[in-house]
C-alpha cells in the first residue's frame, strides 16, 4: 500500500512538472525529469532516503523556476506537493522496515496515508487560495515578509543551539 502511494506521489510530482514543461519547449528538461522520476522510483524501492531529499530539492527548484518563467502555478504546486509526499513516504517506508511481522503495519499505514492526504489537501487549498488572490508584492508585504524571515531565522538559530 505504501509503495503504491509512493509511486502515485512520484508520478504526480514529476508528471505535473514534466507535463507543464513539455508544452513550452524545455524538451531536455522533460527528459531529465522523466529520468529523475525513474531513478526516484528505484531509490524508493531501495529505501535511499538521501536520493528522495535530492529529488525533492530538484522538484521544488524546478517548480520555482516554472513560476518564475510564468508557467501554470497550479501544476507547479501539484508538482511540489507530489514531491513532498514522495519524500515523506520514502522515509515512512524506511521506518516501517523496522517493524516486525506481527506489528500493526496496515493500521499504521492507513492512518499515515489518511493524515498525509489531509495535509496535502490543506496545503493545496491554501496554495490555490494564495494563487487566486494573486498577492502583489507591495512594500508592506515585503516588509512583513522580511520581518517574518528575520524572526524565523532567529528562532531557527535558537532551536539549533538548543538541539546541540
Amino acid at each position: 500500500m505504501n509503495f503504491f502511494a509512493f509511486v502515485i506521489s512520484v508520478l504526480m510530482g514529476v508528471g505535473s512538472l514534466a507535463y507543464v514543461y513539455s508544452g513550452t519547449g524545455f524538451d531536455q528538461l522533460v527528459r531529465g525529469l522523466l529520468i529523475l522520476g525513474a531513478l526516484w522510483l528505484y531509490a524508493g524501492r531501495k529505501r535511499w532516503t538521501w536520493f528522495s531529499t535530492i529529488a525533492l530539492l530538484l522538484s521544488v527548484a524546478l517548480a520555482g523556476y516554472g513560476l518564475w518563467v510564468g508557467l501554470s502555478p497550479g501544476w507547479m504546486v501539484a508538482g511540489a506537493i507530489g514531491a513532498l509526499l514522495a519524500w515523506d513516504l520514502t522515509e515512512f517506508m524506511r521506518r516501517m522496515d523496522g517493524a516486525f511481522e506481527t506489528d500493526d503495519l496496515p493500521g499504521m499505514q492507513r492512518r499515515h496515508l489518511a493524515r498525509l492526504t489531509v495535509v496535502a489537501l490543506i496545503g493545496l487549498l491554501l496554495a490555490s487560495i494564495s494563487m487566486l488572490v494573486r498577492l502583489e508584492f507591495t512594500l508592506e508585504w515585503m516588509m512583513l515578509l522580511a520581518l517574518v524571515a528575520v524572526l524565523g531565522v532567529t528562532q531557527l538559530v535558537a532551536w539549533l543551539r538548543r538541539e546541540k
Partner: protein, 428 residues
C-alpha cells in the same frame, strides 16, 4: 541533516525567492511545506515517559540453550503515534524466534508486551536498556532515548561432573575435607599407633599391638582429611590456543577449568581462578556455591588474548596462591613453560597440569599426508619429552586428547585409587 532543518531551508528559500523576484506565487508554493511542518510539530511527543521491564526465562544458560526474553512497556506520558522499540540485546546472541525490535502506536496508559527467543555461545551478555524512538505523524521531530532496564544473561561453559579429583597438598586448611593432611587424628585411613588416652573410642584400641606390651595400651591413629587451597590457572594465551582456520583449544580448556573448579569446590576446598592471557583476571579464592557462581561467571567472560606481555607464564602472580597450596594449570603447554612450572614446583607448590593435547587436535583435521604424519610424530615426541621433564620435576601432568570425554580421562588418571590399592596403602 534533520528533516525539520531541511524543510525550513526549503520554506526560507522559497520566501527569499519570492522576495527577490517579487513573485507572490513563491509564498503559495511554500505553504504546503509550512502546513506539513506545523502538523508534524503540533503532534510531536513532548517527552517520552515509558516504564520498561524485562525478564529472562533464565539468567544462566548453557551454550545454545534457548532463553525467552519478555519485554513489557507501559506509556506513562502522552499518546505516541509511532514508537520504535529496540531491545538492547547483544549482537553476539542469535535471535531464533521473534524480534527484539517492534514498531507500534502506544496511547497514554497503554501497555505493550512482546517476547523473543535468543541463544548464544559462552559469554556474558548485558542487556543495557531499550532504545526508544518516538515519532510525530511525519517524523519531523523524532525523539530518541534509551530507557534503562538492566539485566544480564550468562551463558556458562558446559560443565562435566567430575566425581573426585585426587590432589595431595603439603599444607591443608583447618576445616575437615577430603584431602589427606599427613596429620594423625580422626579419619578413615590408618596413619599410625599411639598410646591409648582416656576419651579415645574403645574400637580404636589396637589389640594386636597392645598384646605385645603388658604395660601400655595402644590405639590406632587415622590420617586427618582436610580442605586445601587450590588455584586454577586458565591459559588464555593466543600462541598456545589458536590453530589454523580459526580453530581453538580454548573452549576445551574452559570446560576443564569449570569442571575442575566445580569438583574442587564440591569437595569443600577453597578455590581461586586466574585467567592468564589478554590480562590477569583474578577471582579471589573462596568456598562454596557462591564461589562456584563467581568462577563460572569469570569463565563465561574468559577470552583468548594476544598480549605480548603475557606471552610467557613468567608473569603469573605467584603471591596470589597461598604457600604450599595446589596450583592447577589448564594449558595446551608451550616449550617455554617448562622452566616456569619447575620454578613453581621449587617454591613448594603442588603443581598439576591439565593439558588439552594440541598435537592430536591439529592432526585430527589436517589432510592425511606422509609429510603431515611425519611432522605430527616429531611434534608429538617433543611434547612427550616436555611432559616427561615436567613429571621428573614432580609436576603431575594429565595429557588430555580432547577427542575423549574429560570425565573419563580424569577418572582414569586422577580418580580415587581402587579399593585394593587403598587397602595396601597404594596411590595412583
Amino acid at each position: 541533516m534533520s528533516r525539520t532543518f531541511f524543510l525550513i531551508l526549503i520554506i526560507y528559500a522559497l520566501l527569499l525567492a519570492g522576495l527577490a523576484t517579487l513573485h507572490g506565487e513563491f509564498v503559495g508554493l511554500a505553504l504546503p511545506f509550512v502546513v506539513y511542518l506545523l502538523v508534524g510539530f503540533w503532534r510531536a511527543p513532548d517527552e517520552i515517559k515509558l516504564d520498561v521491564h524485562r525478564t529472562l526465562s533464565t539468567e544462566r544458560a548453557a551454550p545454545g540453550e534457548d532463553v525467552l526474553v519478555t519485554v513489557d512497556v507501559t506509556n506513562q506520558g502522552a499518546d505516541i503515534e509511532e514508537l520504535l522499540l529496540e531491545d538492547g540485546c547483544s549482537p553476539n546472541l542469535t535471535v531464533s524466534n521473534g524480534s527484539p525490535q517492534h514498531l507500534l502506536s502506544l496511547k497514554k496508559g497503554e501497555s505493550y508486551s512482546w517476547t523473543y527467543i535468543v541463544n548464544g555461545p559462552r559469554g556474558g551478555y548485558p542487556f543495557d536498556g531499550v532504545m526508544v524512538e518516538a515519532m510525530d505523524h511525519f517524523g519531523v521531530r523524532p525523539s530518541k532515548q534509551q530507557v534503562p532496564a538492566r539485566s544480564e544473561l550468562f551463558v556458562f561453559p558446559p560443565l562435566t561432573r567430575l566425581k573426585y579429583v585426587t590432589i595431595r597438598t603439603r599444607r591443608t586448611r583447618v576445616y575437615s575435607g577430603s584431602i589427606p593432611a599427613r596429620v594423625g587424628g580422626p579419619g578413615v585411613e590408618f596413619f599410625g599407633l599411639r598410646e591409648y588416652q582416656p576419651g579415645d573410642p574403645p574400637r580404636w584400641i589396637n589389640w594386636r599391638a597392645s598384646a605385645r606390651d603388658s604395660e601400655i595400651l595402644y590405639a590406632n591413629e587415622f590420617q586427618q582429611e582436610r580442605v586445601a587451597d587450590v588455584g586454577i590457572v586458565l591459559d588464555g594465551r593466543e600462541k598456545t590456543n589458536w590453530f589454523r582456520d580459526g580453530r581453538s583449544l580454548f573452549e576445551h580448556s574452559v570446560l576443564a577449568a569449570a569442571s575442575l573448579a566445580d569438583a574442587f569446590l564440591s569437595q569443600g576446598n577453597r578455590v581461586g581462578l586466574l585467567t592468564y592471557g589478554r590480562y590477569l583476571d583474578w577471582t579471589l579464592p573462596a568456598y562454596g556455591k557462591v564461589q562456584r557462581e563467581r568462577i563460572l561467571q569469570a569463565l563465561a567472560h574468559a577470552q583468548i588474548g594476544g598480549s605480548p606481555v603475557f606471552s610467557g607464564l613468567e608473569h603469573i602472580p605467584v603471591r596470589l596462591f597461598p604457600a604450599h597450596s595446589q596450583v592447577v594449570l589448564v594449558s595446551p603447554l608451550d616449550a617455554g613453560d617448562l622452566e616456569i612450572l619447575i620454578q613453581l614446583r621449587a617454591r613448594g607448590y603442588q603443581v598439576m597440569v591439565i593439558s588439552p593435547d594440541p598435537v592430536s587436535f591439529e592432526v585430527s583435521y589436517l589432510p592425511e599426508k606422509p609429510s603431515i604424519e611425519l611432522a605430527g610424530r616429531v611434534v608429538r615426541m617433543e611434547r612427550e619429552l616436555l611432559i616427561k621433564k615436567l613429571q621428573h620435576a614432580g609436576v603431575q601432568v594429565l595429557d588430555w586428547n580432547v577427542a575423549h570425554p574429560l570425565d573419563q580421562v580424569m577418572k582414569h588418571r586422577l580418580g580415587p585409587p581402587p579399593a585394593l590399592l587403598r587397602a595396601i596403602g597404594g596411590r595412583k
